[in-house]
Structure formats: structure tokens, C-alpha cells
């Protein structure tokens, strides 16, 4: 995940500043008063104790065998803590593959139907590259932005020296005065989405600023979705009937 962003301001001047994650206030944790609990993942069934294996061995109705013989219980395996594991792929017959599988990308329509299958498109991170993320000049009033976009993520821009403090403070103050957010974009034209890691999710990025005396908050609001009526699943109308 990128920890810096290279961007331009209203004057077209570019700078690289820090990007910090912002966390919500943590919720209460589940526990027992005065006790330390550990969360553990463990083996609950051996390969010979799965529904498919038992069905193959005893037939469709194997309830009585479970009662009388406990064939699903393998004391050597069950209860073992699962710690470090390696991901493996099973082929169409359920056998472990010793070569990498081929990956395909499914494109699914909003109604849930499959649109196409294609070779996966690789995307690269673009927020801290030689080409800066561009200040588009398109301000959207706060009152309009909150009704139009779902902001899934927020990151905070932080200065790394005195010069970048002035740079970010000025942006925050200008946006606060305008009561607007500013669209940022990637690419030569500054119209592309922001991608923070290779093959990561693409977002539209908006800057929002606030000041308090000589302090500032300059947030990068990230949205991958407009507030729109959802498409009905295939075979149903808009009301899901």
C-alpha cells in the first residue's frame, strides 16, 4: 500500500507528501472480564471425515455409522491448531496441482449474469510515480458530493517538512473556503482513477480540507461507487419481484 502520494496543486506545482491511514474509533472487543483470550483456528474434520468422503464410504445415509463408530473422528488430526499454511490449488478432479493454474477474469454484469471471460488485466499502482496525480480543477460542493458518492476509504495527507506543510495547509484552506472537494486524477490528462497497489482496487480520489488556526486536516476521500439505484438481479424487476 502506498505511503506517499505525488500530486500537483492548483498552480501545477508538484510535491511528494505522506499518506496515512485513518481508523475509526475501535469497537468494544469480545472477551471475559479479567481473562486473556486467544483466537485460534483449528482442524475440525479430517479429509476422511468430510461429507463427501463419508458419503462415498457409507452411502447416502450414514447417520447410524456416525453414532456407532465415530468414523468422522480422527484423533491424530482433529483439534490441531492451524498456523502457517500454504495455498494449493485442486484441479477439476479435486487432486492437488503441482503446477500453477491459469487465471481467468470473469466479468459479471450488475444483474449477476456473466458478460465475458478474458485474460486478467494487470494494473499498477499510480499514486507515487514520476507522473504526479493531477489537480483536476473540478470542485464539487460538499453538499453535492455526499449525495453523489459513497466514500469507501479515507487517507490523510501529512507534510514531511516545512515546505510541504505550507503546500498542504494552503490546499486545505482553499478547499475549506470553497466548501468543496477537489477531484484528483491519474495519467497525462489527470482523468484516470487512483490505484494504490498493483492489481489493487481503483478509486476516484477527492481532496477535502479543514483548518483550525495553524493546524490542518487534508483528507483524500476515495470512492468506487456512486449512489445509484441498484440493477435488479437477472429475472427480477427493480423491486426484486
Amino acid at each position: 500500500m502506498a505511503t506517499s502520494i505525488h500530486l500537483t496543486n492548483a498552480k501545477g506545482r508538484n510535491a511528494t507528501v505522506a499518506l496515512a491511514g485513518v481508523k475509526p474509533i475501535p469497537p468494544p472487543k469480545l472477551g471475559l472480564p479479567g481473562a486473556t483470550l486467544v483466537f485460534r483456528k483449528y482442524i475440525a474434520a479430517a479429509e476422511t471425515g468430510t461429507h463427501a468422503a463419508l458419503q462415498e464410504k457409507f452411502g447416502q445415509d450414514y447417520a447410524q455409522q456416525l453414532i456407532t463408530g465415530d468414523p468422522e473422528v480422527d484423533l491424530e488430526v482433529i483439534g490441531s491448531t492451524v498456523e502457517d499454511t500454504q495455498t494449493v490449488y485442486l484441479d477439476g478432479e479435486g487432486k492437488v496441482m503441482f503446477v500453477d493454474p491459469k487465471f481467468l477474469e470473469l466479468i459479471i454484469n450488475a444483474d449477476g449474469t456473466e458478460k465475458e471471460r478474458r485474460e486478467p488485466l494487470e494494473t499498477i499502482a499510480n499514486v507515487n510515480t514520476e507522473l504526479p496525480v493531477r489537480w483536476s480543477g473540478r470542485k464539487i460542493l460538499l453538499a453535492e458530493a455526499v449525495k453523489r458518492f459513497a466514500f469507501r476509504r479515507r487517507m490523510q495527507l501529512r507534510h514531511t517538512d516545512g515546505l510541504s506543510y505550507d503546500y498542504l495547509y494552503e490546499i486545505a484552506r482553499d478547499l475549506e473556503t470553497a466548501q468543496a472537494v477537489m477531484l484528483l486524477g491519474s495519467g497525462e490528462k489527470g482523468t484516470g482513477p487512483l490505484i494504490f497497489q498493483s492489481n489493487g482496487r481503483a478509486y476516484r480520489g477527492f481532496l477535502e480540507g479543514r483548518t483550525q488556526g495553524k493546524s490542518y486536516q487534508l483528507m483524500l476521500l476515495l470512492s468506487d461507487m456512486e449512489l445509484k439505484q441498484p440493477v435488479a438481479p437477472a429475472g427480477k424487476d427493480k423491486d426484486g419481484e
Binding site: A18, A20, P24, I25, P28, K29, L30, G31, L32, P33, A35, L37, F39, R40, K41, Y42, A44, A45, A46, E47, T50, V77, V82, T85, Q86, V88, Y89, L90, D91, G92, M97, V99, P101, K102, E105, I107, I108, N109, A110, K115, P120, G137, I140, L142, V146, F151, R154, T160, D161, G162, K189, P193, Q212, K214, Q217, M219, D224, E226, L227, P230
Partner: protein, 200 residues
């Protein structure tokens, strides 16, 4: 019948049916699948560190244990806040009238750690509360989809596409001063309507 989001102000009530939405329900989705040499879909599994056990879907479970190894049932556990105090569980707010506060400033919504978005369908076609939403007001109500220790808020907004509830919790954003040097942790000209969310 599904429970509704019910809001009230004075003697006026307005209820909505809820439909949780995400990007895939508006633009569709991309999904990567693995296929074997014959084009058949592969399934993922895990191999334990010692290489002895292949873990297929449904073969593992998880839970909380005491330091002596005793499993702790979910029903035994309570909510504990950051100060170590026991907190009460919040019941679901669905179907229970939630009083809206005065209209909320847009900047407050921008400080929300968004958890989920719902498309809301009003059950009453004529309502002064609905008129206020359509005029641009933002309503805030307590919102818990199901009972739990976490407490969230729903911000209700309306646009040309309908009404939406943006559900989440406040962010903990710090003010940045000039003297604060930030050291990042290792991991830590088109028109407005041309914004292309579909192709992302």
C-alpha cells in the same frame, strides 16, 4: 416481512425498506478464477506447515480459548471497551422508530468510516420528511442492523436516483501542526457527469 428503517420527527414518521448495495450491484464485478490444463475450474485449499494435512473447505473451525486451552462459548463472552469496562449489547434498530436530530452538515458525513450502503425505498409516497430529504437535508439516526456491541449511525441522503443510508462510525482524524513530522509506517477538463465509475 423484512424489517424497515423507521425514522421519526415530532408526529411524523417515515419508513423505508432496505436493500444493501455495493459496487457490483451497480456496475457489475470482476472476479479471478483459476482453471486447470483442461479448462476446469480449480478450487483453493490449504496445506499445513508440516505438509501432512490438506485442508479443504469446511475442515477447519475457529474460536476463542482461555490460556489454559478451554474453548469459550460465544454466549459466555461480553463486550469490553478500551478501558476494560463491560459494555451492554445494543439491540437492532430496525423496525424501531429512531428520532432524527436536526439536519446534519455535509462535512460530518465526510468524517464517517463507511461500513455499508443501503438503497432505501420509502413506504410512504407523501411525507414532509421525504420532502426535506429531497430538498437536500441529511438526517442522522442510530443504526444497528443486528444486535451487537458496536454502535453505528446511518446518514440518510436523497438524490435523483432515490434515498440512501450511509452507515458507519466516526473517524478519529488528527489535526496536523507544522512542527509534527510524519514518518510513515512500513505498511501503513471533463464535465462532472463524465466521471467514469463503470470502467474502473
Amino acid at each position: 416481512m423484512a424489517k424497515t428503517l423507521l425514522i421519526t420527527k415530532g408526529s411524523e414518521e417515515l419508513s423505508f425498506t432496505l436493500n444493501r448495495i455495493d459496487r457490483s450491484k451497480i456496475y457489475g464485478a470482476r472476479k479471478r478464477i483459476a482453471v486447470d490444463g483442461n479448462g476446469r475450474v480449480c478450487t483453493r485449499a490449504a496445506l499445513t506447515g508440516d505438509g501432512r494435512t490438506l485442508l479443504l473447505s469446511g475442515m477447519t473451525s475457529q474460536g476463542y480459548f482461555t490460556d489454559t486451552g478451554r474453548p469459550v462459548l460465544r454466549s459466555e463472552m461480553v463486550g469490553i471497551d478500551a478501558l476494560g469496562q463491560i459494555v451492554e449489547s445494543n439491540s437492532s434498530t430496525l423496525g424501531i422508530a429512531q428520532t432524527i436530530a436536526e439536519a446534519v452538515a455535509p462535512s460530518e458525513l465526510l468524517s464517517l468510516a463507511l461500513q455499508s450502503v443501503f438503497y432505501l425505498k420509502p413506504e410512504q409516497l407523501a411525507s414532509s420528511l421525504l420532502d426535506r430529504l429531497k430538498a437536500g437535508e441529511i438526517f442522522k439516526v442510530a443504526f444497528n442492523y443486528s444486535a451487537g456491541f458496536d454502535a453505528a449511525f446511518a446518514y440518510i441522503v436523497a438524490n435523483d436516483d432515490g434515498c440512501f443510508a450511509l452507515v458507519g462510525k466516526p473517524m478519529n482524524v488528527q489535526w496536523v501542526e507544522e512542527g509534527q513530522q510524519f514518518v510513515p509506517l512500513p505498511d501503513d477538463s471533463e464535465e462532472a457527469d463524465d466521471l467514469d465509475f463503470d470502467a474502473m
